[in-house]
Symmetry: C2
Subunit: 319 residues, 2 copies
Amino acid sequence: MLAVHLESGRVVLRAQALPRVPRGFARIRLLAAGICSTDLELQRGYYGFSGTPGHEFVGEVTDASDKTWIGKRVVGEINLACGDCDWCRRGLGRHCPTRTVLGIVKHPGAFREFLTLPVRNLHEVPKTISTEHAVFIEPVAAACEILDQVKIPKGERVAVLGDGKLGLLVSQVLQAHGAQVHLFGRHREKMRLVEPTGVTTEIAPKKLPGAAWPLVVDATGSSAGLQAAVSMCIPRGTVIMKSTVHGLVSIDTAPAIVNEITLVGSRCGRFEAAIPLLSSGKVNVGSMISEEFPLDCAPQAFARAAKKGVLKVLLRPPG
Amino acid sequence: MLAVHLESGRVVLRAQALPRVPRGFARIRLLAAGICSTDLELQRGYYGFSGTPGHEFVGEVTDASDKTWIGKRVVGEINLACGDCDWCRRGLGRHCPTRTVLGIVKHPGAFREFLTLPVRNLHEVPKTISTEHAVFIEPVAAACEILDQVKIPKGERVAVLGDGKLGLLVSQVLQAHGAQVHLFGRHREKMRLVEPTGVTTEIAPKKLPGAAWPLVVDATGSSAGLQAAVSMCIPRGTVIMKSTVHGLVSIDTAPAIVNEITLVGSRCGRFEAAIPLLSSGKVNVGSMISEEFPLDCAPQAFARAAKKGVLKVLLRPPG
């Protein structure tokens, strides 16, 4: 079978044997996968990654110890947890200290014709969600994670910084939750995509409004984003740190301390929350797909995804 | 009357007229005041400060619109709030956007023979607390602020980083609250002061234990403290940012995001929580007084307070 491989910053194609299926696992035939900013960071060599990336996928189960899964169209939670530690017992397997992570940490990812995941990580995709849209279940779940961490009252005014894929999804998810979201970005055409859901948008001014929002989400992916988010937050307000930046970020901690701001790091989320949002159409992702490439054009797909202004690039298996 | 003045980094003495007493205010004769790290930062010119510093004090009311206060021994909350805005109505006058702050922002401080504060800022000092100990009510209240912001279950394991004045107070306050506090510092003799309250102590090793504590308080006052606190915190844990550092702090935000750490900026607190802790002796501050100077030796007192290893330096009015 065909597998994408990252090595020393290059995207290469390899022919591989079908992955074996350990007890409790399923083998999944890829239907579609999405290239995420994290994949581009792995390509740049962050986290010393080498191997097959890919963690946003939809596939069809072709083999599994539990035969009832065979033939089902599925997505899968990306953290492979031990299932047995304190974290796992509390339903927080995504913090299991011995976890591996699909396409990120010690488990080969989804950019290949067949992948494997534990059956307990799988969620069947309802018929109401197309395969292309279901690729977004993972990033929508990451946006939903905010709701798992912070209580956001209905009608709460929320500022989201950044109109990349994550910023657009976070805006829609929080708006669907009942917040009044205001998105600050740099691309009028991207921000237009979320306006039908009720999100108000604004090209980020040079001087952002100070101490104005009870909740601010930094989804800029830039090292300046966190400082901007803190200064926009009202005293005792909350800043969600949603986008990682490689390397050190310089911030003036004084305003965060004087105004007693709470900063919350936020990563992956539960798929259960994401599926109904896509199924109901409350979160609209169709307009966020920039392009599709066949898996054997992965090098070109990565190059395209890295271009400024490009949103989601999908990979499809050959044939 | 005598007043201490900071100008261009120098500590000078000035003769001044008695301050007038606006409606709702009290005039207070100084009994004792404490030099805080913030005062040393003001001296260094941070925040563009020029004027009379001092916000930790005990005094006797000599004049007030409400005559029942006259003769009382008092301490005072340092934020002079409008009393009328949303913040003030929610009991959060210390975040009132138009506030001035005693000895820090646009209200002359306590390092003078007579100071003024609104009567509503005053708390009578119970007889059970000596004047020297009552100087600590303000910084103990700042330590208590953590309990106002974060729920800490009884028995919770808490790491405190930094054995300066604030670290020693925070350790005692959280231990008195019922947490199991472990203090990491650099000075065996300072840390010994808090051991009788049950706090366990340790000279900070080069490599601090990673992902080990559900709650970590950074009271180091150093730019490396925040990064260390984040790496010591377990996934989904909380870091309290208690010490300001002038200028930019560099942190790697990735571990905070991957482990979904919550960082909470924490500043001043309510005096109501601090007074019983000092009154009952649950927080012991007697051993934290390094030295006393008369007010007219303020330049020497500031120099002494800035020395490494020195804890609280008190100022006393002449005579």
